[in-house]
Symmetry: C2
Subunit: 571 residues, 2 copies
């Protein structure tokens, strides 16, 4: 067998997984590894401004590149702890990210001298302990004998369970020679088969329930459909059955929104009334990949009795009140599809009213939230990647149906603001790899302030996202939740249109920035083909009223207050 | 007893500790508490751009405000994990910081619904578990009965042990009513007395050793002198004995550098040769508050035999090879001083050569590292607060003697870059409270990129630091450690002089920015009284050569490589 370095082994595995960009920040404990990254023929070192942004970027990259993973490299202690919140977000939202921490040499890990980046108390394992909280697998490459097996183990966990994993890479392990033998066998993504007896039983149960529902069945797709890679299986099921399909916020664009049996976004009480009625009046909801978090369910306001529900999950199935552990949807779905074909005729009669994209006619020339979202909806094109941030953007976008093959990226469960900037960087690199369309970010002024420097990295790598920066004088979403007029919800106003030139486009040739203060200005810009196809990074500062809030957010905030009050009374 | 809210109890305690500024970022789980902060008559909410920067600011604040603490408020999960690296830095460097995480209500902590900001798996305790790694005490305010005692417990730990502590504050506990009784008793800072017999024994031992050394004793002050609040005790000892005194990098300015018995910075092999000779040839080193980390000791190159050493620490004493646990220096020092008085006459004869501030005359008009540091040395004034960042700045400043009553702030052990920006914000607020002089930051272009947004918060609060931004096209310190010409050590060049206007000084009246490309330009600026006393925030971009490295850093990097090689061979 050929002997290769641990670094090359790892990079070859990453290459096999389709990784073309690695994010992170150098440090003396990871630079020996970065030499290999920089010299790698197909993998590119991105070089972020800071580690949190790098982790967010790895997350965004993985989201837009299915079957691949995001990779972030940090340095011992200072770097890895800076990134940990981004890794936690990937855990929460089920995004496969590999966090490589360059750490002191194996000798130093044993002798534990008083090195920089330590806590000064010889506890060299604290950072790993912290990482254990937010990753599903960890490997400490303590010797070369186990190295390749350990790398394979965590990478397999990462891709098959769609969660972050952690690799502690000592400086002296990087260049150790190991056998390349294992590389010939690709990492397995194949899930173990379901127990055939139980599976058969579950299929029978489901068919029975669908029968009872007289084919009045609605499919609800959620986050885990894309996270656990059953998009194709679900598409087959829908094509075979013609069941109407709705999506949750976290499932948005999992099903092509132009698909004629797609009926829009269901969010409990926050839903558009027509959608709410259609979903809640169905005799049966076939929920696939549900992730019923507060903001993903309209603050837990589903009005769907359990007796009307089947839930398919990555590792279990629920049929009404019955639990079937260890029955995975990926394995189950093809069989379910072939059994459900027979319902197609009846199901085809169920009416789906397609969400419409109507720009309201308003008296004011101000850019209102109610006008803005449908209006940008008209600007979107096939294959665009649309990233939104926690805040008004995450809610405003929900009512906008998106063109076919668009990819919607957001962090609705974890909701760490600033994430969208890093994520857009990663998404843009992934989109470039995949030959997708434009990458378009919607982000609030408050959120942008957390991670703004990463705009610089976008320019550095010639990425050309369009960034809509909603300038509404602070934290609008927070005002709605608490302290409407509190000063802590105000922020410093920035010269937003100078950001791109200040942060790297020194002679102004690589970027464009605009401020739009009213509808006419926005229309003009959106209708300008030069803007739509600029091939440069662009930032549009959109001036909106401090108190203007999208419909869905207003309702969510009200429900949130009610929910908090209710749960306070529970005890 | 008067009943007050938990929030007011906590804020009153903080006020008693001299806290006037609280750092952080709002979130729905901390806003109920922020209402109390915003309404507090003497405590100000700072409102940072992101949580890591806020933690760094709390750290900087505490460093410049002895006997007070830094306070940072974050929101559940996303906020607290974003801040954790800043808290870890405070742990490492022994800075008293209180991290308050606003968390879900006590009911929700029990029922654990699928809330935003969670990992989606009902583990609500992961963030606290992470915090436990980097704080010395934690309190979860689960009920009002224990609330005030718990608050007092962690605050006492914070101030007496000079390390960060963590408070988990559920939304519904904020307004619970508790007795204010305990507030009448100030938090104790008094340390338990040393065991008198052991203490007496130790004193005798020390005197014996000093005798043997024929009064040829040199005092070496280090980080823990200021961290563990024995500055005054050490000063008394020095005045009483006239022993020559030297400092480590982390101890810089603990002893007034204009004090006539102060001889400069000792860093093992990296020291100025005269200093090295003076220290290492002494018969005895009385080391006080040592923290012998790699960069603080010239990569462990002290040439001082243990038989020539006495070490006083916060909780133990070492006399040559003998260990005396639980003998604290704070309690010991006054007694030691009175016993050592007798050596004064002899000690006075020991010659101290004061470090001189000489600006070299060079052929080139380029701003070199060797010229820059002494030159800015001439610009410093009494009571200035000087903050330096990991990189060339941390090393360049070492050879510059500082005027009396200046305070030097740096993070030499933990070395997390970006820290200095947040830290400068905190330092500037503390300096304003204390009526100190100017706050002057030296930071590299690479480091500034991690946390740049916090410049905005400085402007917001009318702070007026002078920021010297060393533009040397990337990570110079890293180049010296590994990969001199590697691309991963390059960064994006920014329009540095546009930062302050872009990030908040919209009409350019609150700030000034300059670029200096050569010595003449720098001289002119430094000699301009308007610059020296601007009363505005100012940023000076200093253009330096990519490969130019301060003497001490070059030596440290070489030693670092040697050290790594040596420790690799050890096994
Ligand atoms: C890291 C982090 N810190 C704090 C919060 C709390 N938070 C949620 S939304 C928000 C304000 C967002 O403001 P902005 O981006 O301006 O959005 P908009 O005004 O459009 O609502 C804050 C502070 C968070 N979610 N994540
Ligand atoms: C959070 C963090 N990430 C990475 C590092 C590794 N690191 C140490 S110094 C440095 C470069 C600093 O560059 P710059 O600020 O430009 O300093 P200079 O060029 O003056 O040396 C880096 C990346 C670190 N110490 N902390
Ligand atoms: Mg906003
Ligand atoms: Mg630099």
């Amino acid at each position: 067998d050929e002997q290769i370095t641990v670094a090359d082994y790892l990079l070859t595995r990453l290459e096999q997984l389709g990784v073309s960009s690695i994010f992170g920040v150098p440090g003396d404990f990871n630079m020996p590894f970065l030499d290999y990254v920089e010299d790698h023929p197909t993998i590119k070192w991105i070089g972020n401004c800071n580690e949190l942004n790098a982790a967010y970027a790895a997350d965004g990259y993985a989201r837009v590149k299915p079957h691949s993973i995001g990779v972030v490299v940090t340095t011992f202690g200072v770097g890895e702890l800076s990134a940990i919140n981004g890794i936690a977000g990937a855990f929460s939202e089920m995004v496969p990210v590999l966090h490589i921490a360059g750490v002191p040499s194996t000798t130093q890990l044993k002798t534990r001298p008083l090195l920089h980046h330590t806590l000064g108390d010889a506890r060299f394992d604290v950072f790993t302990k912290a990482a254990e909280q937010v990753t599903i697998s960890q490997a400490m490459l303590a010797n070369k004998v186990q190295a390749t097996a350990e790398i394979d183990r965590i990478l397999t966990d990462c891709v098959s369970r769609a969660r972050p994993v952690y690799l502690s890479l000592p400086t002296d392990m990087v260049s150790e020679k190991v056998s390349s033998k294992r590389l010939k066998i690709p990492l397995s993504r194949i899930l173990p088969p379901n127990n055939p007896d139980v599976e058969e039983f579950v299929l029978d149960e489901i068919i029975k329930v669908v029968h009872e529902a007289e084919s009045n069945v609605v499919v609800l797709v959620d986050a885990c459909v894309s996270r656990h890679d059953v998009k194709d299986e679900v598409k087959d099921l829908l094509t075979a059955t013609h069941f109407p399909v709705y999506s949750t916020p976290m499932g948005k664009t999992t099903i092509d929104e132009e698909y004629d049996r797609y009926g829009g976004i269901y969010i409990g009480s926050i839903s558009d009334p027509v959608i709410k009625e259609r979903v809640e009046s169905a005799n049966l909801i076939l929920s696939i990949g549900a992730l019923k978090s507060d903001f993903n369910t309209g603050m837990f306001t589903y009005r769907i009795p359990t007796t009307h529900t089947i839930e398919l999950h990555a590792d279990h199935v629920l049929v009404r009140h019955a639990h079937f552990p260890k029955i995975g949807m990926k394995q189950l779905l093809p069989k379910l599809t072939s059994r459900l074909r027979d319902f197609r005729c009846q199901a085809s009669e169920l009416v789906v009213s397609k969400p419409k994209l109507e720009v309201p006619v308003e008296q004011t020339n101000d850019i209102t939230q109610s006008y803005f979202w449908p209006r940008v909806g008209k600007f979107f094109r096939k294959k665009d990647v649309i990233v939104t941030e926690t805040g008004t953007s995450n809610f405003g976008i929900l009512d906008v149906p998106l063109p076919e093959q668009t990819i919607f990226v957001s962090q609705i469960l974890y909701g760490s603001i600033g994430w969208a900037v890093g994520s857009t960087l990663g998404a843009a690199l992934a989109a470039r790899d995949r030959g997708l369309g434009r990458v378009i970010l919607f982000i609030g002024d408050g959120s942008m302030q957390l991670t703004v420097q990463e705009l610089s990295t976008m320019t550095r790598h010639g990425l050309t996202p369009i960034i809509f920066l909603i300038n509404n004088s602070g934290y609008n979403i927070e005002r709605n939740l608490h302290g409407m007029n509190r000063k802590y919800n105000d922020i410093v106003d920035w010269k937003w249109t100078s950001l791109l030139t200040t942060l790297g486009d020194l002679n102004g040739t690589l970027s464009m920035s605009y401020t739009v203060r009213n509808k006419s200005e926005l229309e003009k810009l959106l209708d300008d083909p030069q803007f739509a196809n600029a091939g440069k990074i662009q930032l549009v500062e959109v001036i909106m009223d401090k108190y203007d809030t999208p419909r869905a957010l207003k309702m969510a905030a009200e429900l949130s207050t009610k929910y908090a009050e209710k749960s306070a009374k529970q005890f």
